[in-house]
Symmetry: C2
Subunit: 215 residues, 2 copies
């Protein structure tokens, strides 16, 4: 398998964490797509992923799978023992709900803020910006942090009692928030404590260096 | 099970279609939430779904599952025989990718156009609008229609050889596009032919009346 990737990106981080959680990193080659050069918006890349986003998984038969949730579904199903996307109907429903909510209310909101209300990837890549929309999305993301804090006051993980894809999506959101300097409010103690725990997980801690050849 | 619903809404349509495809409609009670009165933005409803959107599934144990993809995962897994969300890793990956792409590039874009660049649900509900953003999302949705047309020139269904959740999401997009009068370009012949076929499926055809008591 091959992954089109940007090693420090928050969305690529989601798939890197999933790969490590599933012990699949050694089966993947990473190919860097330079976001700051707009390589994800070239016709050659858009033919792989119409939406022009990273990461993209390419299977050995040439099939492209884009979207973190879809890639995670694929990776989690490979060994027949899903640990990230749920086993029972109720688990599947709750994990998908919370992961989607983490996109809507946190990660994607921070991404829109970055691309629309900051210099983003630079003037050659950010050919249209809507600063007012971007700033509103930043505020939405901070509200989202407060929401996830309230969730984590009642349970150890975002979708319940076990680590899942939903935790990975919130981690992606807080990685992106850190990069663009939108801090978690100090009173979100449960969210901050959960994030400290998550950063100690090997899959999260070593996500950037996982693509470097081991010596 | 209970579904918080708006019978003619494009997002509720996705779950109604999934229920009919899975022969589960008779196990569900529908409770109308009046969007035009903003009932989905009241504190009581936000406690059920933080994002304030329809539909929401309430299980008999009181668990709330929001987000169409999550509800569809739940419903599709109930009988142990998934027919909408994929069986193999590759099917799961492709269906989730195409369903997410149909949200990003079509359905959600039309929704943003509706809420931001038209009167939407009226001045009492649409308390903030960004018309420029809304109009750009309309243009994005029309590009999305051309993309799905190109996909359907090569295969009978959105994610491949069989009907899936990805078809349902594109159907939701075209239902919404019809409501807000954003027509499919006439040259999108494959998309239009596919949509005509989809509208003949009983699950799609009878989706609005499925909640009416049979006499």
């Amino acid at each position: 398998m091959k992954i089109y990737d940007w090693s420090t990106g928050p969305y690529p981080a989601r798939v890197r964490i999933a790969l490590a959680e599933k012990n699949l990193a050694s089966r993947v080659r990473f190919e860097t797509v330079n976001l700051y050069k707009g390589e994800h918006k070239t016709p050659a890349f858009l033919a792989k992923n119409y939406s022009g986003t990273l990461p993209v998984l390419e299977l050995d038969d040439g099939t492209f799978i884009a979207e973190c949730t879809a890639i995670t579904e694929y990776l989690d199903a490979l060994d027949g023992t899903p640990t990230l996307t749920g086993r029972t109907p109720r688990e599947k429903g709750l994990i998908h709900m919370m992961s989607k909510r983490a996109e809507l209310e946190l990660l994607d909101a921070i991404s829109v803020y970055f691309h629309h209300a900051t210099p983003g990837l630079g003037p050659d890549v950010e050919i249209y910006q809507n600063a007012e929309w971007g700033l509103r999305q930043r505020d939405k993301a901070v509200r989202g942090m407060r929401y996830f804090d309230s969730v984590l006051r009642g349970q150890p993980f975002v979708a319940g009692e076990t680590f899942s894809m939903a935790d990975i999506t919130v981690i992606g959101g807080l990685i992106f928030a850190g990069l663009v300097k939108v801090p978690v409010p100090a009173e979100c103690e449960a969210l901050l404590a959960w994030y400290a725990r998550m950063q100690e997980r090997p899959s999260v801690k070593h996500r950037v260096t996982m693509s470097e050849p081991s010596v």
